[in-house]
């Protein structure tokens, strides 16, 4: 089963850390990525640019409205994602638990929809 692990964090908190702290967290992430690559569970993943670079698009009555970036009140924003193919939900949750952002912010584990299906 494939899962997307959504990584949430707070850029302000992140920016307040020292280089050493950030390197340590980066090392943890590298370790997990190596493990997932070697186990054949890693399907993909990307880091997202800061939400201030975002555009929000809405079309109402056929009229597009494009607004800049983040919602100011949002403290935690979507910072990236990875897609893993795991035997069980427990395993996907375990990976999320070890991802450093889970300790400071949050990780969200969501199954991906499959295009296959059984008739009933």
């Amino acid at each position: 089963m494939k899962y997307v692990l959504l990584i949430y964090n707070n850029p302000a908190t992140y920016a307040s850390w020292s280089d050493e702290e950030r390197d340590a967290l980066g090392g943890e992430v590298d370790g997990i990525m190596t493990e997932l690559t070697e186990s054949g569970e890693l399907v993909g993943g990307e880091a997202l640019a800061d939400a201030s670079n975002a555009k929000t698009v809405r079309v109402r009555s056929g009229v597009p409205a494009v607004t800049d970036g983040p919602f100011a009140e949002a403290k935690e924003q979507l910072a990236g994602y990875l897609i893993v193919d795991c035997e069980t939900t427990d395993r996907a949750v375990e990976i999320a638990t070890r991802w450093p952002d889970a300790r400071y912010f949050a990780m969200e584990v969501r199954p991906l929809m499959d295009t296959a299906g059984a008739e009933m």
């Binding site: 089963m1 494939k2 690559t37 070697e38 186990s39 054949g40 569970e41 890693l42 399907v43 993909g44 193919d85 035997e87 199954p111 991906l112 929809m113 499959d114 295009t115 296959a116 299906g117 059984a118 008739e119 009933m120």
Partner: protein, 417 residues
């Protein structure tokens, strides 16, 4: 069949025998697989031009052993080179064997290779990948595309599986006879997983995934030829044939799912149905009964009904009762409840389902909601049925199932509620 198609066909049949033989002899799964791949490639290039040799299997073994020897020679590690060179024997020794000895050796080679690929030290995903690669002869790219993962991910999964086999010290060791039934079970389970992966794929983007169904049937057929007296192997083959026969009717052109009761049965493939029924009939008469045979028997009863309303539900119910005894699990109970409802009315089916609410293996599963909704619909409780279908639609992780369940819910929303 064109020459090159005939060559491809022959190579895919011989590949597991050749690999099995090399692995058994040299105990180096990785190196043996590389060597066999090179030998297969050489054959695929040379045979269509030069003709198929008199002893194609011997030809492949000879070439593969030569490649393996070359590989050992070029190996940088001196120690490993020496150790392995000592173990290598001339290819003639492997190729030459008396006819009767040869037959049973081929049988063993393929079976042992399957046992190895479905080794209990591996995860199901790795067992599936390795079986398709080493026994099925599919390329890593084909397997990756069938499972919708990048090729690098699949390559890594296969290479990890080989390492795990090595670490478990399993390479080429012949399991003691007492373990065979369990090892055959493991192989059948992997073949069943491969089949389902292909069968549940819907139209359109999933074409490559559907190839898995054909591959699973081909491999199960091969195992059946190796173990003709094993009723469960025959049962699984029959189950696959009878299930796959419904494929032309199970989806609409737009990919949406058609439930069994609403399928256009004139679209079912008659050839596989006849073969499946013959297989399961023969096996039930002679072999020790098991879950695959019972599921095949149930599929056969469905296949024999010209119209859904002609279905012999009492017989299906009796088979589910047996299946619950032989292989109790909540998914069996779900289907059993439908049979109970068809024979004794929906209330009786709902009572059976109630017991599953406390079973952590299925509580919260969309199939439980969907079956309950179906039985509630039979009782006439449209509102509860609709809520059940909606809950099931939210819980499934399959797009076509969600669409089907949403449409069932929508059909109950109009008049009558």
């Amino acid at each position: 069949m064109s020459t090159s198609a005939a060559v491809d066909d022959l190579l895919r049949r011989l590949a597991p025998q050749v690999l099995g033989r090399l692995v058994r002899r040299y105990r180096q799964f990785d190196a043996a697989e590389d060597a066999v791949q090179e030998a297969l490639l050489a054959a695929a290039v040379q045979w269509p031009e030069a003709g198929i040799p008199d002893n194609p299997r011997g030809w492949l073994i000879t070439v593969a052993v030569r490649r393996l020897t070359d590989q050992v020679r070029s190996d940088r590690s001196r120690r490993r080179r020496e150790a392995m060179a000592a173990a290598l024997s001339p290819a003639d020794e492997l190729v030459a064997a008396g006819p009767s000895e040869q037959r049973s050796a081929h049988r063993d080679d393929t079976l042992l290779l399957l046992f190895l690929c479905c080794h209990p030290a591996l995860t199901p995903a790795s067992q599936v990948a390795l079986t398709l690669r080493a026994v099925g002869g599919l390329t890593t790219a084909q397997i990756a595309s069938a499972f919708l993962v990048p090729e690098a991910t699949m390559a890594q999964r296969i290479s990890r599986a080989k390492q795990q086999i090595k670490a478990a010290g399993a390479a080429s060791d012949r399991p003691p006879q007492v373990e065979w039934p369990n090892r055959v079970q493991a192989v059948l389970h992997v073949l069943y997983l491969i089949f389902n992966e292909g069968y549940t794929a819907t139209a359109g983007p999933d074409l490559q995934r559907r190839e898995l169904t054909r591959e699973a049937i081909r491999l199960t057929r091969a195992v059946h030829a190796l173990l003709p007296g094993d009723g469960e192997v025959a049962g699984l083959l029959a189950l696959m044939l009878l299930t796959d026969a419904r494929r032309p009717a199970r989806t609409r052109p737009d990919g949406s799912l058609v439930p069994l009761a609403e399928q256009d049965r004139s679209k079912w493939s008659q050839g596989p149905i006849e073969e499946g029924i013959a297989l399961i009939t023969r096996s039930l008469e002679r072999a020790v009964i098991g879950p695959y045979q019972l599921q095949a028997a149930i599929a056969a009863v469905h296949a024999e009904a010209a119209r859904a309303e002609d279905t012999d539900w009492p017989q299906i119910l009796a088979l589910y009762q047996l299946l619950e005894r032989v292989s109790p699990n909540p998914m069996v109970t779900l289907n059993h409840a439908v049979a109970v409802a068809m024979v004794g009315g929906p209330r009786e089916g709902l009572e059976l389902l109630a017991g599953l609410d406390t079973d952590h293996r299925v509580a919260g599963h969309h199939r439980l909601d969907a079956v309950r909704a179906h039985l509630l619909e039979m009782t006439g409780d449209r509102a509860a049925a609709r809520a059940g279908y909606q809950r099931a639609a939210r819980r499934t992780t399959s797009l076509p199932e969600r669409r089907y369940l949403e449409s069932r819910a929508a059909a109950l929303s109009g008049e009558g509620t």
